[in-house]
Amino acid sequence: MTDTVIDRAARATPPSVARRVRGVSDRMLAWIFVAPTIFLLLSINIFPLIWTINLSFTNYKANRNRPVEYIGFENYHRILTDKDVWLTMQATAHFLFWTIFFQVLIGFALAWLINRKFKGNDLWTTLIVLPMMLSPAVVGNFWTFLYQPQIGLFNYVVSFFTGADPSSFSMIGQVNLAPWAIVIVDTWMWTPFIMLICLAGLRSIPDYIYEAAEVDRASKWRQFWTITIPMALPFLMLAVLFRGIENFKMFDLVVLLTGGGPGSTTELTSINLKREAFEKWRTGYASAYAIILFVTVFGLASIYVKALNKVKER
């Protein structure tokens, strides 16, 4: 018989506790304690997931009083052959790749700099992490103002360095600039998060390893590539995993900045899904869409976690 968590918890329960609750066995007591969690897990996570899978095979619309019909895989077929859905996937991939690329690059560089002992180190750390503490709604709104072609500070800064007319371009209104506008804001906001995790990684590297490398006359460059990067890599990968999952479901910041526009240029999958589910009320279709996204994220995350474990084992 397998030794379950509940069995182990029951064995670990001190006899005095069990004695105090008359007529209740240790095993029952353990079940009583874990039951609320299991109930919540089933009702909040598992049941909706199963229900969503069920709905994804129907033509159900939550705003209509009409009989629900099972239509097999038609919703899945429609989604996977819809050009517009693939465009939103592309927009999401662009956003995901470039935000993580810049955040890792800048975040690691900042962590490396902050890790060095200098005067005002703590103050700089606090200042750098400030954007991360703000609400995405606030960030989205004030960057919308910063990006305004006529009054926005961002355009004036660009104008100052390039000589271009500030009102000659619109970061959130032009098809070629809007995808970068959202990348800039997300990078500004979340680079500190990567920095903090990298900083933890860098500070976990024992000094004696660098001292040994010094003794072996290893150059700083070599120390960086053979000690710093490999030892900080698990932390870095963890940070990428967190940001990847977060940005895959990015919604609020982009809605406030561009609303998915101009046209559908910055319409990420989460925005598209919300429109299908709660504006068009195509519940069955949106359920299939959600399942496809769930499988994608789950699959990619699983592969990534395996890679992360391999790196940690090295």
């Binding site: 009083n65 619109s170 209104g173 998915g260 046209g263």
Partner: protein, 434 residues
Amino acid sequence: MKSTLLWAATALTAAAHAQAEDLTLCWAAWDPANALVELSKDYEAQSGNTMHFEFVPWPNFADRMLNELNSGGKLCDLLIGDSQWIGGGAENGHYVKLNDFFDKEGISMDDFAPATVYAYSTWPKGTPNYYALPAMGDALGWFYRKDWFARPDIQEAFQAEYGRPLEEPKTQDELMEIAKFFQGREIDGQTRYGVSIFTERGSEGITMGATSALYPFGFKYTTEPGSYEMEGAVNSPDAVKGLEFYKALYECCTPPGYTDAYMEQTLDAFKSGQVAMAMNWFAFFPGLYADPNIGGEHIDFFVNPKEKVEASVLGGQGISVVAYSDKQDAALDYIKWFAQPDVQKKWWSLGGYSCHNAVLNDPSFPESTPFAADFLVAMNGVQDFWQEPAYAELLLAMQKRLHDYVVADQGTAQEALDQLIGDWTETFQDEGKM
């Protein structure tokens, strides 16, 4: 004797209080809503009922209220819902059918402007099945800087450039010329722009804006009224021209970065003196005219200019009783009170747009405000979006296709309208109507 009277008075008061209800009326948060609050004070005094109001900003209005209806919510006893919701409201059982109530109370739909009854009250369209009382007539109109138009230097420059005096545009082409004339022009040391128009992506903005050009150019939803045959109507050569016109107007003559603008943004652009002309709903015109900076002598109004035909985009709403309300009798009592000619007259005087013939057919009406005559003209030529139960799907598809073409500059007008037919066909097939 004295104590008997006292008891009787107390009993009557208690009975009155027992019947008094707290009613909640839901609507969009905008100028006319404030007028309705003021108007409803008379109802409170007369009925003993207390009115509460739930006003939601326009960008979230549809989302919020349709969620409320779809979930069978009891927040609203009365709802002034958008005209396009009438199909869904009726077919999904959200609105109470009012025919019996109208018959019982002697409320005749003949007392209201036919276009408003058709648009705000009936489902299926044009049948005598009423789910709302016309509450707020509205259409898309235009306003402009009358003071700039009147300046001799500007008049002279326009005459030299176009060979005609600068005046309110009568056609869409004239509108474009005037917009081009003002675009980038220095007036009082500041750069001004031609027009502020609707380009919003999220709710209904660009559809409402673009249809103000599409309708006059000859756009139709179907080839035959009552059918769902869209090929040759939605993507007709006239419709393509109309859409190309709107894109050209957007590209040539709007302020920089004007990519996601609806009611509030067009008002801001006009009030801040950025633009010479702007489109918006007539509902905002009383507030604009009263504005101390750009109202009064500075402003004037005109109907959506014609091109092939005279047409304006319909706005406005009817007032409905929500089927999930526990206070339907009191809600109907409010509608009965609201339908009275005297109340409708006061409604207009406070800034609401009455649809009652007693107001609209009054000889003094056209002269009552600088925009009243234009309102009458506009309401005679209004066209509305689909009012089908699946209107939200139809609307979002149009929002996407129009924004992709007009603002994001992707594809051609023909492609955008062809794709729109594809989207709408899919929706109607899902609905079992094709």
